[in-house]
C-alpha cells in the first residue's frame, strides 16, 4: 500500500474517532443538563434560564412550570431554582469546554483517547 493511501486511512480513522469522542462529550453534557426536582424533570436550556429570570424580574416568587413530560410542576422558590439550574448549566458547559479544547488539540488517535501508546 502506498504511503499516501496509508496516511489517508490513518486520517480517516482519526476523524471517525474524533467524531465518536465528540458525540460522547455531547451525550454527557445532555445528561448533565437534565435536572429533576419536585417529581418533575427539566432540561436546562437557555430558554428555561431566561424564562425563570423573567418571572423573577416580574417579581414572581413561585410558579408552575411545565417539565419535559409536559406535566405541571410547582416551583416554590424561583430564586433557588434559578441558582440551581445556572450552577448545573455552568458545571456542564465548563466541563464540555475543557474536554472539547483537549480534543481539538489532539492530532493522533491515542491522544484523543488519552491512553499511553505503549499499552
Amino acid at each position: 500500500m502506498s504511503s499516501k493511501l496509508t496516511k489517508a486511512l490513518e486520517f480517516a480513522n482519526y476523524r471517525t474517532t474524533l467524531n465518536v469522542q465528540h458525540n460522547a462529550l455531547k451525550a454527557k453534557v445532555q445528561t448533565l443538563l437534565s435536572y429533576s426536582t419536585n417529581g418533575g424533570t427539566f432540561e436546562i436550556s437557555h430558554e428555561l434560564i431566561s424564562f425563570v429570570k423573567m418571572l423573577i424580574d416580574k417579581e414572581y416568587s413561585n410558579a408552575v412550570l411545565l417539565d419535559v413530560y409536559q406535566n405541571p410542576i410547582m416551583v416554590d422558590n424561583l430564586n433557588d431554582f434559578l441558582e440551581e439550574i445556572l450552577s448545573r448549566y455552568f458545571e456542564a458547559v465548563n466541563e464540555y469546554h475543557a474536554e472539547y479544547t483537549k480534543l481539538k488539540k489532539a492530532r493522533k488517535v491515542h491522544k484523543l483517547i488519552d491512553i499511553d501508546i505503549d499499552d
Partner: protein
C-alpha cells in the same frame, strides 16, 4: 419511602452474571450512594460466585440476596447466541424468565430494576427517586457510536409497536405498577398468542418484547404510552464490541466495531455515563481493573 436497586443474575456455563451484578453493586454504591441493593439469583449461581469471589466480597456489595428456584425446562429451551466480538460466538442458555416477578420480589417502595451488565458510571439515575411518574422505562436508546443505527431495535416488527428496553425500569409500589408486572407475566405465559399478535421475530424469549407489549396495553393501546426515564437516552454497545481497559474511575475504553468493516475497530473513551455493555466476557476481562477504580 425506601428505595433500592434490583438486579437478576442467573449464571450460565460461561457467564458469571452474579459477578457482574456484584461489580455493578459496587459501582451503584460509589456513584448513586444507594446501599440497598437486591440481587435475585439461584443456589448454583450463588455457590459458584461466592466460591470465586468470597462470601464477604459479595455480601459487602449486595445487601439482599434472594435465592429462587430455576425453571430447568425454560433454561434448556431459551438459548441465545452470545458474542465475544464478531470473531467468537456461542449459543448459551439465557435465563430471564423471572424478571416479571420484580414487583413481588422488590422490598423497596421505589425500585430501579436494572440489568447486571448496565454499568452505573454516574449518578444520573438518582433523578428517578420521588418522581411523579410511577413507572418509567425507555424506548429511546443510543449506540455510543451513533452511526451504527439498527432499525430492528426500534420496533418489535417493521410495522409493529415501539420497542421499550427492559434494561432499566423504575417503579413505585402502586396498583398501576403491580398491574403492569402482572401483564408482563401474562404475556410471558401466553407467548405464542402475543407473538402472533405483535409479530416479534424468532423464538427467543426477551423481556424487551413482553415489557413492550405490556407498555402498549397498559398505556391504553397507544404507542409510547409509558413515560421514559428522566435521562436523555440509554446508551449501549454491541456484543461485537470489546472493552480495552478501565483506566480510571467511571471510565471505560471500548473497541467499537466499525459498521462497514466488520471485525475492525475504533477506540472510544467513555466516561461518567451509564452504559449497557452487551459483551459480557469483555466486562469480565476488565473486572479487576474496574474494581481497582472503586473506592
Amino acid at each position: 419511602m425506601t428505595k433500592g436497586f434490583l438486579m437478576f443474575a442467573h449464571n450460565n456455563e460461561e457467564i458469571d452474571y452474579l459477578k457482574l451484578a456484584t461489580i455493578n453493586a459496587y459501582l451503584i454504591k460509589q456513584n448513586c450512594d444507594v446501599h440497598d441493593i437486591t440481587v435475585v439469583t439461584n443456589q448454583h449461581s450463588y455457590d459458584y460466585t461466592v466460591g470465586e469471589l468470597g462470601k464477604e466480597f459479595v455480601h459487602n456489595a449486595i445487601s439482599n440476596i434472594v435465592i429462587t428456584e430455576k425453571d430447568k425446562n425454560f433454561k434448556r429451551a431459551n438459548n441465545r447466541l452470545y458474542k465475544d466480538t464478531s470473531h467468537t460466538s456461542k449459543p448459551l442458555p439465557f435465563y430471564n424468565v423471572d424478571r416479571c416477578d420484580a414487583y413481588k420480589i422488590s422490598p423497596y417502595d421505589e425500585t430501579l430494576l436494572i440489568d447486571a451488565d448496565y454499568l452505573i458510571l454516574s449518578n444520573s439515575l438518582n433523578s428517578c427517586w420521588g418522581h411523579n411518574n410511577e413507572l418509567m422505562m425507555n424506548w429511546s436508546y443510543q449506540d455510543i457510536m451513533s452511526e451504527r443505527d439498527d432499525p430492528t431495535l426500534k420496533r418489535l416488527s417493521p410495522s409493529g409497536i415501539t420497542m421499550y428496553w427492559a434494561t432499566v425500569v423504575y417503579f413505585r409500589k402502586t396498583d398501576f405498577a403491580e398491574q403492569f408486572f402482572k401483564t408482563v407475566e401474562h404475556v410471558r405465559d401466553n407467548r405464542e398468542y402475543y407473538q402472533d399478535v405483535y409479530k416479534w421475530p424468532g423464538n427467543l424469549y426477551r423481556n424487551d418484547y413482553s415489557f413492550s407489549v405490556a407498555a402498549h396495553m397498559m398505556g391504553g393501546f397507544v404507542d409510547k404510552g409509558i413515560e421514559q426515564l428522566p435521562v436523555p437516552h440509554l446508551y449501549k454497545t454491541f456484543d461485537t464490541d470489546d472493552v480495552h481497559s478501565a483506566p480510571s474511575k467511571n471510565e471505560l475504553v471500548f473497541y467499537l466495531e466499525k459498521p462497514r468493516s466488520l471485525g475492525d475497530f475504533i477506540l472510544c473513551k467513555w466516561r461518567g455515563l451509564d452504559v449497557h455493555v452487551m459483551n459480557k466476557w469483555a466486562i469480565n476481562r476488565v473486572s479487576e481493573e474496574l474494581l481497582c477504580q472503586i473506592n
